[in-house]
Amino acid sequence: MEAASLPAGLELVAGGGAGLSPEKRAVLGSSLLLLQRDYRFERVWFWGCIQGVRGAYYIAEGLGPDRAAPRSRLYSLNCVEWSLLPPATKEMVAQAEQLKGRFQGDPSFEYENPEINAEDAEGLIEDSKELLIKEEARLVATIEQIDRAVGIIPRGAFVKTPLGSVHENRNFEGLSLTEAKKLSSYFHFTEPVNLKNKTLLEKADLDPSTDFLDSLEHDVPQGSWTVQLEKGGTVVVLRSLLWLGLTFYHVPMTKQYGYVYFGTGEKNLDLPFML
């Protein structure tokens, strides 16, 4: 969620029981501003918090002029000092997917990769470095996976210019209440995958300036999002069931929206059994 709307946003997301202590809220107000100054970001988003066994990671993202470009990610253990994370690579993501269990809370902790076939082991004995994965790499890969899978925005909030870059839509007044309850009004804020598979008839109805992303309607498995009205029906809260802890809020007919992750950083692979 936007750093500027952090206090209000946290109030709206608190229905899940997770939030930040007053101390962290107070320090984030200033430390995120300083991040913006130091790294020359145009926008700073507070991404959320990943709970480890011995400590927690607080994550922030910085956006440049093109909002859809790959974002810079920073982490902190105490919300005061932030460290830049390396960009995620496919190998990192593939390796991190094999790891199971909680985060430890120590960025230099090294995991031993237990799932190695006998054939692979022979090849890898030479490169013993590949057997150990640092928790920092796992952190990067997890954030990338979460953003790609469940980072969402309301339809119409961002607009694509003819030059290809993406900006906030200044004319976005918020979704109406009926629109806000439908999954098709929300998009994944990442490279679209299903867009080109739509039929020509569907594509004719789309507005290329606002409908350039995948909507949530066709997420697999169906039902992996819960849509609820909270606070007496004034806030629409979407929670992801695939990554438990990701919460998206939007106040209909206003410009307030945002998503935040408070959780353990583990994918819920039991989802099909649980629905």
């Binding site: 109030e11 709206l12 608190a14 229905g15 899940g16 029981g17 997770a18 939030g19 930040l20 202590s21 007053p22 101390e23 962290k24 709970q51 066994v53 011995r54 105490n78 199971k100 269990g101 909680r102 200044r170 004319n171 209440l177 039902g223 819960t226 609820q228 009205l229 606070k231 007496g232 029906g233 004034t234 929670r239 069931l241 438990l244 353990t264 692979l269 039991d270 059994f273 649980m274 629905l275």
Partner: protein, 550 residues
């Protein structure tokens, strides 16, 4: 000489009266005519929409000049669209607009009702009960948890506070506690843990028991009729399957049913009481993992089939979470001093507050897990807190059947299950793989003087506890499932049961082939022929003998 066109060589050369900024028509009258023509063209109404460009441009420019947005040229198309759209909104309110009742308004009404005090009754009760009230101080608890970043927004906490107050005025309650919030797919659950005043147990329990007894009698009659009919027909072999004995649930007020739980979906909605939990439900809940939908009457479709609906599943999960994660600082509770109870099976199950409790400093509470104890009994494998031998009971109940058969087929003796006794410190809790069962932190590292000790459970993610001085509290915010690093694999269906013992009269044999039949026939004929010869010989022998005797 007219104005130069762009392709002519004289174009662009500045000449007085002929600069590019002059109007193309120099003559004043024809200029006016041209303006009027242009304006008439702009005032032309569109055949499709009935608007005309002149009014539209005027409205647009008025709007822009009123609002003065930055970079208006970039959003001019959107402004144009907005102005057109505004045409279609009728300024005169029709009746339809007035009657539009959004669901948000109804919800707001319910929440407002929480804040209204019932006149008359409210004032009198306040005077009596200000001293002791079972109402917990939800806001104080919320404050301590907020120091750790856990909890609902202040608004919601206050609404829950008032909803609990309503609960207390309606039911005769001795102690009440905000247990926590469980999230669901369509709606969430807010849960209150309650203990009734002694002697004020619900009469609904008696009604339920009577109903079940009547049902059983009805069933018994139907069964007898069926058996009579069946005896006349040729019966297939009866199965020797005897279902395992049903383990009875614990009495209200003891063990897993020590507390009664009330749930509601949102503060303002009526509280619904959850039924007591049975051991079978707990045993089954351990094997399944399902999300809650938010409707208490929703069926739970799973394997092994869950004996009940969502209300039962919710109650079973609440019982498991309470048994696993309700903790208190050591010394806050102590056992009542009755020495006679020590020999009883199952250990002690009652405790009372210790008046001499000395709170430990926060640093100690955080460093060592042995400063915390569980104050809720753990649930055994059987599904109860106090072990019950099901075989003894079944012998008493089934006196009608052959007792000899019963005793001969008695399954292996069940060993008494023992769980950790009440008030066990947390250091005895097993971790999962290499993760300890609890994570302890102070609420703040910057100001240790007023910090509180915060514990998070790693086995039940979402269960938290805090302690600060004499205050402590437990709470749960989560989806209601246990943590397991391994993926959930559902139970396999049991192997196919043997229906009946196989014996010679039931087993199929292959029919004999033609050659075998012929060989058999030939052998039979040989045997017959051999017998006839022997008989003839015997007869001959007998005749001879008879002749001899004569």
């Amino acid at each position: 000489h007219g104005p130069y066109q762009p392709h002519e060589p004289g174009y662009g050369l500045y000449q007085p009266g002929y600069s590019p900024y002059d109007d193309q028509i120099p003559d004043l009258n024809s200029q006016k005519l041209a303006i009027e023509n242009a304006k008439a063209y702009l005032l032309e109404s569109s055949t499709v929409s009935g608007l005309n460009l002149y009014d539209h441009l005027a409205n647009m420019l008025t709007k822009i000049l009123d609002e003065r947005p930055t970079n208006a040229v970039d959003i001019i198309e959107n402004i144009s669209k907005d102005v057109k759209w505004a045409q279609f909104q009728k300024k005169m309110d029709t009746l339809r607009d007035e009657h539009e009742i959004l669901p948000t308004f109804e919800a707001a009404e319910k929440r407002k009702a929480l804040f209204l005090r019932a006149n008359g009754e409210g004032a009198e009760e306040l005077e009596e009960d200000i001293g002791e009230t079972p109402l917990p101080n939800v806001m104080e608890t919320a404050f301590y948890f907020e120091q750790a970043g856990i909890g609902l927004s202040k608004d919601e906490s206050y609404h829950i506070y008032l909803a609990l107050k309503n609960l207390i005025t309606v039911h005769p309650i001795q102690t009440c506690r905000f247990w926590g919030k469980i999230l669901g797919l369509e709606m969430n659950y807010i849960i209150a843990e309650v203990q009734y005043r002694d002697g004020e147990e619900e009469e609904e329990e008696g009604e339920e028991e009577e109903v079940t007894e009547e049902e059983e009698k009805g069933m018994g009659e139907i069964e007898e009729e069926d058996e009579d009919e069946e005896k006349e027909k040729d019966e297939p072999p009866k199965s020797t399957y005897k279902p395992p004995p049903v383990i009875p649930k614990e009495e209200n007020g003891t063990g897993a049913n020590k507390y009664v739980y009330f749930v509601c979906n949102e503060p303002g909605k009526p509280w619904v009481k959850l039924p007591p939990v049975t051991p079978a439900q707990i045993v089954c809940a351990r094997k399944i993992k399902k999300f809650f939908t938010g409707r208490l009457d929703a069926p739970v479709v799973s394997f092994p089939p869950f004996p009940g609906n969502e209300a039962n599943y919710l109650r079973a999960q609440i019982a498991r979470i309470s048994a696993g994660t309700q903790i208190s600082p050591i010394g806050f509770y102590q056992f009542a001093e009755e020495e006679g109870d020590e020999d009883e099976e199952g250990g002690r199950d009652t405790f009372e507050e210790n008046p001499d409790f000395q709170p430990l400093p926060v640093a100690e509470m955080v460093d060592s897990l042995s400063t915390w104890v569980h104050h809720v009994q753990s649930i055994l494998m059987q599904g109860r807190c106090v072990w019950l031998n099901p075989i003894q009971k079944s012998e008493e109940e089934e006196d009608d059947e052959d007792e000899e058969e019963e005793k001969a087929e008695e399954p292996e003796e069940l060993q008494q299950e023992v769980g950790p006794p009440l008030l066990t410190p947390l250091s005895e809790d097993e971790g999962i793989q290499n993760i300890p069962a609890w994570t302890a932190q102070p609420s703040t590292n910057l100001i240790p003087h007023h910090a509180a000790a915060i514990l998070q459970s790693n086995r039940w993610p979402g269960a938290y506890a805090f302690a600060s001085g004499r205050n402590f509290e437990n709470i749960y915010f989560g989806w209601g499932h246990k943590y397991s690093p391994e993926n959930h694999s559902p139970a396999l269906p049991p192997p196919v049961q043997a229906e009946y013992p196989s014996g010679p009269e039931i087993t199929e044999t292959t029919d004999p082939t033609v050659e075998e039949e012929q060989a058999f026939k030939a052998a039979q004929e040989k045997a017959l022929a051999a017998e006839e010869e022997e008989e003839e010989e015997e007869e001959a022998a007998e005749d001879d003998e008879e002749e001899d005797d004569d």
